[in-house]
């Protein structure tokens, strides 16, 4: 539902540019799929493209770009530890129905200088504008505390980040942004959105899909553990028995 709204917002931005001959966006991504293999330690994603000015107009220095990469949304529970009888333990909790597993935003200028708060909220630009869909009946200020806690933690894990100078625009025409995706992100469908911003308004936008998936042996193991869990368990036991027995047999001979 929320995704649909966002795409609708993007579509609504398009006619605006057609009428007033506003600049157009030609975006691309370095990879549309990221493969997780045995030595995966994260990936680097390059978002780049060109800004086309209709009628051969000279590039406008006022044109800015923001890019957003977001991962699949997940429902989750955030728990908060408090000291009870000298021990730190989970006491309160809050549910969120749609927290993105990964969210990175890069822009050519700090977001607060690019767009007003309302536009930022519509396009979910910036960490404070993430729509996490709180699911419990907590008081709003409690919910905000949990939201801040979740965002702060994911930020330190590099699953969420903002890079206010991450997009470089060359000669007002070419833009590029480099985003790092850490190793512990979940697999799934990611989206890379690019927004063209002029005078505080989003005048064009584009979405590209990126798929992050396990391949080869890693994919096989994850698949087997999920689909053939009993066989997987038996194989794990067999492997450990074999290794244990093998080592003792080799050492006894030697």
């Amino acid at each position: 539902m929320k995704d649909a709204l966002r795409i609708l917002a993007l579509l609504l931005a398009l006619p605006a540019l057609a009428g007033a001959a506003k600049p157009r966006l030609v975006p691309d991504v370095s990879q549309n799929s990221i493969e997780i293999r045995y030595s995966f330690t994260g990936a680097e994603l390059l978002l780049f493209g060109a800004i086309l000015y209709p009628g051969g107009r000279a590039p406008d220095a006022n044109t800015q770009v923001a890019v957003v990469v977001r991962g699949p949304t997940e429902p989750l529970v955030v728990r908060e530890k408090q000291k009870v009888a000298g021990i730190w333990m989970n006491v309160e909790s809050a549910r969120f129905r749609s927290a993105p597993a990964f969210y990175a935003v890069a822009s050519s200028k700090p977001l607060s200088k690019l767009i007003d708060e309302r536009t930022a909220a519509i396009y979910e630009l910036g960490l404070q504008n993430l729509q996490l869909s709180p699911g419990t009946g907590n008081a709003p200020e409690v919910q905000r505390r949990f939201e801040a806690g979740l965002i702060d933690m994911r930020r330190r894990q590099q699953a969420y980040f903002e890079d206010p100078k991450g997009v470089t625009i060359t000669e007002g025409v070419l833009y590029r942004a480099r985003l790092t995706i850490p190793a512990q992100v979940p697999v799934g469908n990611y989206t890379a959105e690019t927004f063209l911003i002029q005078d505080g308004k989003v005048i064009a936008g584009a979405v590209r899909d990126i798929r992050i998936e396990k391949t080869g042996f890693e994919r096989f193991v994850a698949w087997a553990a999920d689909r053939w869990s009993l066989v997987y368990g038996l194989v794990s036991v067999a492997l450990s028995l074999l290794l244990g027995w093998g080592a003792s047999a080799i050492f006894r001979r030697g």
Partner: protein, 303 residues
């Protein structure tokens, strides 16, 4: 050398994991404990999700206990009748433990319960073992007029329906070893430990089993229960990481062989003192984790 763990979902340095397995294996060979109480917390400190750490450490213990069981079998140091009773208890305990694990996980208290159990169990065992080995080494003075340990515990003697366990030299109710196995089985699921560090003293001091069969029988129980627990984890929590378990095993089965050779040259009291110090260190680290303000106040659990 980074290797991606397909179930844990992150990359680890393979050499660190193999080395960890090696150190734990060395202890296993030297002292005869499974070392799960060391592997699981260290894996969690390293950043492996707790459920994956518990499940994969269980798989590793199966592997390390194999060679021990084989060695004890050759020396006729396994009481199969007693072992069977304890294993049945252990399997029931594993199922109960799995049920408890889910309830605690849903209420968000699993981490606290695990840490508390570790502190209490390891703290107690560590202090007892340290005292005993310290006395044997002459560091502490033995108390005068100490009662000789009773061969028959009155609590166990009152249990009905006695069976004969020839190799253990016992005529007791099978309920006692059954309950003991039940407790150990629960710990295996909850903590990712074999439970040898509790079983062995309990078999000696509570059941009064003859010393030659204690370690072998305990290892047999660990082997069976950890294998069953691996299957339970694989089918319910789906958190057994075969790559992680394989790396740990690679180190530990080799470490265990060297440990066994080393053990023949070292004084057993010294080894037990060494183990007591390690156990107390782990317990202390866990206690600090509970009492000090944690770095992360918030934790996330996916639904």
């Amino acid at each position: 050398m980074d290797i991606y763990l397909p179930i844990a979902g992150l990359s680890v340095n393979a050499l660190v994991i193999v080395a960890l397995g090696g150190v734990v294996g060395l202890l296993t060979g030297m002292i005869g404990v499974g070392g799960g109480f060391l592997t699981t917390p260290i894996l969690i400190f390293y950043g492996i999700p707790p459920a994956v750490a518990v499940a994969s450490a269980t798989t590793q213990i199966t592997g390390t206990s194999v060679s021990g069981v084989l060695a004890h079998r050759r020396r006729r140091g396994v009481d199969y009748r007693m072992g069977a009773v304890i294993i049945v208890g252990g399997l029931v305990g594993a199922l109960v433990g799995g049920f408890l694990f889910r309830i605690l996980q849903e209420s968000g208290q699993i981490d606290t319960v695990i840490a508390l159990l570790y502190v209490v169990l390891l703290g107690t065992i560590g202090v007892l073992m340290g005292k005993e080995s310290g006395t044997a080494l002459g560091i502490f003075k033995a108390r005068e007029g100490k009662k000789a340990p009773r061969r028959h515990n009155p609590l166990i003697a009152v249990l009905p329906m006695r069976w004969r366990f020839y190799q253990s030299g016992l005529y007791i109710s099978p309920l006692a070893p059954f309950l003991l196995g039940l407790g150990a089985g629960m710990l295996t699921v909850l903590l990712g430990v074999g439970g040898g560090f509790i079983m062995v003293p309990a078999m000696i001091y509570l059941l009064g089993m003859s010393a030659q069969v204690v370690v072998g029988t305990s290892l047999l129980q660990i082997l069976a229960v950890t294998a069953a627990t691996t299957i339970i984890h694989a089918t319910t929590t789906k958190s057994v990481d075969i790559v992680l378990a394989g790396l740990l095993l690679l180190g530990s089965v080799i470490g265990a062989q060297f440990g066994a050779r080393f053990a023949q040259k070292a004084k057993p009291e010294l080894l037990r003192m060494f183990l007591a110090i390690i156990i107390l260190a782990v317990a202390l680290r866990m206690a600090i984790g509970l009492g000090w303000r944690p770095e992360e106040i918030y934790t996330v659990q996916l639904l």
